[in-house]
């Protein structure tokens, strides 16, 4: 099912949770809504589910396979929604939870008892909880509850699966396992899935497409690669990982001719920022006049971890973070207090006033 959202605005009181949003979700894709808390991602998800209503008068539309569903209630939209804290029915067994969506159907559309039983058990098999049918939700671990919630949402055979922070409340280890599992499940199900997350790693690892949101607006839509390597805005770049920020001044129209100093008094009216990721900085111990280099001094070395993390201080006293591999670190034999030269491999320049 393709979902197309156009010109949707949603406000709570005076603040706009969503500000004139338009976005399409391709059928069969797994899309991540990524952003900091309060950026509107959950609101967007709930709007798709029919749990929230767009501002009357915003003129927006939500279209499922060519049909405007804006006026339809959540039950009518046949959307599988997995709540952040699962919202399992505490007084029902796992079986009854999963069967609920089938049992509340009108008599004419309700499957027979045997069919319901068969469906529930096959779903339990799918979420790998085959022997848990008679447990109460309180007797399950977090990861198991998450999977029951998923099975319950899938029971009504939705063509759209929506997940609100599906791994938010889980331990780090369970989380990575479930991530991979969710990806496999999505591939098996062939439905359009959207999940909300504030964890960029999760979004990049699991999703086909990522939508980065900030303050009720969409910052960028793209594949994980595009988002990571070609961030459309400074916000996206900052949100997707650690960055070093240098302030400078663009003096001509040629964006290559940028003078970057640090802000301490040397630059009059800096009008641009240069963003470099810690792993996009090469280290050399000798200066190379052919390249644009940043001279710096090593102040701290942290070798524990998959890569080596260096804190360096540039001539303006600003701390620059650098990440290099253990191989390079060993080859260069770096030490604290050493003078080094940093060469950016990849950088992004944003004019001030530009987002």
């Amino acid at each position: 099912m393709t979902i197309s959202i156009t010109n949707i605005t949603k406000s709570f009181g005076n603040s706009k949770a969503l500000d004139n949003i338009s976005v399409d979700f391709t059928a069969g894709e797994l899309t991540a809504l990524l952003g900091p808390s309060g950026c509107g991602k959950t609101t967007l998800l709930r709007l798709v589910a029919g749990l929230e209503q767009a501002d009357p008068g915003c003129g927006g539309r939500i279209i499922f396979n060519g049909q405007n569903v804006l006026a339809d209630t959540a039950g009518k939209r046949k959307v599988g929604f997995v709540f952040q804290h699962y919202a399992l029915f505490r007084h029902m067994t796992v079986f009854d939870n999963i069967a609920f969506g089938l049992r509340v159907r009108k008599k004419s559309q309700r499957p027979t008892k045997a069919e319901i039983k068969e469906r529930v058990y096959s779903l339990l098999e799918l979420v790998q909880l085959g022997n848990m049918a008679d447990r109460m939700p309180s007797e399950l671990s977090g990861g198991q509850r998450q999977r029951v919630a998923l099975a319950r949402a899938l029971a009504i055979e939705p063509e759209v699966l929506l997940l609100d922070e599906p791994f938010g409340a889980l331990d780090a280890k369970v989380r990575t396992e479930l991530r991979r599992w969710l990806r496999q499940l999505h591939d098996k199900l062939n439905c359009t899935s959207i999940f909300v997350t504030h964890d960029q790693e999760e979004a990049l690892e699991v999703a086909d497409r990522v939508i980065v949101m900030n303050k009720g607006r969409i910052e960028q839509i793209g594949s994980p690669d595009e988002i990571f390597h070609q961030p459309a805005s400074e916000f996206v770049m900052q949100f997707l990982g650690e960055v070093n920020v240098f302030h400078g001044r663009i003096e001509s129209d040629d964006p290559q001719m940028v003078h970057f100093y640090d802000q301490t008094g040397q630059t009059d009216q800096p009008n641009a920022r240069m963003l470099i990721r810690p792993h996009d900085l090469d280290i050399s111990t000798e200066p190379d006049t052919d390249k644009r280099q940043i001279p710096a001094t090593i102040t701290k070395i942290q070798t524990a971890g998959p890569s080596v993390r260096l804190d360096c201080r540039d001539n303006n006293g600003k701390i620059v973070n650098v990440r290099i591999s253990h191989d390079i670190f060993n080859r260069l034999q770096l030490f604290i207090g050493q003078n080094i030269f940093l060469t950016p491999k990849q950088l992004q320049i944003y004019r001030s006033g530009q987002k």
């Binding site: 709570f12 029919g50 749990l51 929230e52 209503q53 501002d55 009357p56 008068g57 209630t73 959540a74």
Partner: protein, 276 residues
């Protein structure tokens, strides 16, 4: 559209339930209150004033507010003590006693009144020894206070108890670890945190005592000017079909209790806000 009556909510039934609630409240509460207002407005000011400023009325106000206040203070002190014992100590029978605290909620007030009178009457099980000591309880203001202590007690205990139970024990350990004595820990750490709920409990007990009737009328003796509470004076007016007099007293009573409760509520909001 800037102004919204209600935020959108997917749950159904808002119109039905709100409509029913408003109609029910309107018929059962607003209509009768309107009657009181109308009745009060029909009186002239001198009429109203003479009804509430008669010697008998003033004495009844003084008696009602005085005894209610004293009883609420006693309730607050012993309520804190009982809540402390129930939430912090274990002793045989604690659970039964915990359940018994609500007895005054469940026992019809008239029944507590009759029972208290039997206990404290001059020939009663406690009344007799007290009378020998020269203390007369039944048919005096002391009796009224005792009846009010009974009905007001659960309000304090039930407001303070959950707060005491949920107080982080780490706070106390921190205080003790910093060298505070037991008493300092209680008075400087626990008490200030419990104070807002204690004030709430006091307010609730005081309000309840002001309006108490059933348990008081039996033990009070109901002598005009001496042991006649305002509620009883209102009944007397009603029995003589003096609706104007009853209206004046009732509105005065309502206004005074309302102002009092508002003051105490503000005080309590203020002390509660400082803790946040």
């Amino acid at each position: 559209m800037k102004y919204q009556f209600k935020q959108y909510n997917i749950l159904p039934g808002f119109g039905l339930t709100l409509g029913y609630t408003v109609v029910y409240l309107g018929l059962l509460v607003l209509l009768p209150l309107a009657a009181l207002t109308l009745s009060a407005l029909q009186m002239t000011w001198p009429e109203f004033w003479s009804a509430i400023s008669s010697q008998r009325a003033i004495r009844s106000f003084a008696l009602t507010f005085g005894t209610s206040f004293i009883a609420a203070v006693i309730n607050t002190i012993f309520g804190l003590l009982i809540a402390w014992c129930l939430s912090r100590m274990s002793f045989p029978g604690r659970k039964i006693i915990d359940a018994m605290i609500d007895l005054p909620f469940a026992l019809p007030t008239a029944i507590s009144g009759i029972a208290l009178t039997a206990v404290y009457a001059p020939n009663g099980i406690l009344g007799e020894p007290l009378a020998r000591l020269g203390i007369k309880v039944a048919y005096t203001p002391i009796g009224i206070i005792i009846a009010m202590i009974l009905v007001g007690l659960p309000f304090v205990v039930r407001t303070v108890q959950p707060v005491l139970a949920e107080l982080e024990r780490e706070l106390e350990e921190a205080a003790l670890g910093l060298g505070a004595s037991n008493w300092q820990t209680f008075s400087k750490v626990i008490f200030p945190l419990v104070l807002p709920s204690l004030l709430t409990g006091f307010t609730l007990a005081f309000a309840r005592n002001l309006g108490e009737y059933g348990s008081v009328v039996f033990i009070a003796g109901n002598m005009p000017m001496k042991t006649e509470i305002t509620s009883l004076l209102i009944v007397t007016h009603l029995e003589q079909y003096d609706y104007a007099g009853a209206t004046a007293l009732a509105s005065a009573m309502l206004i005074i209790s309302f102002v009092l409760l508002l003051t105490i509520n503000l005080l309590q909001t203020w002390s509660g806000r400082r803790l946040k």
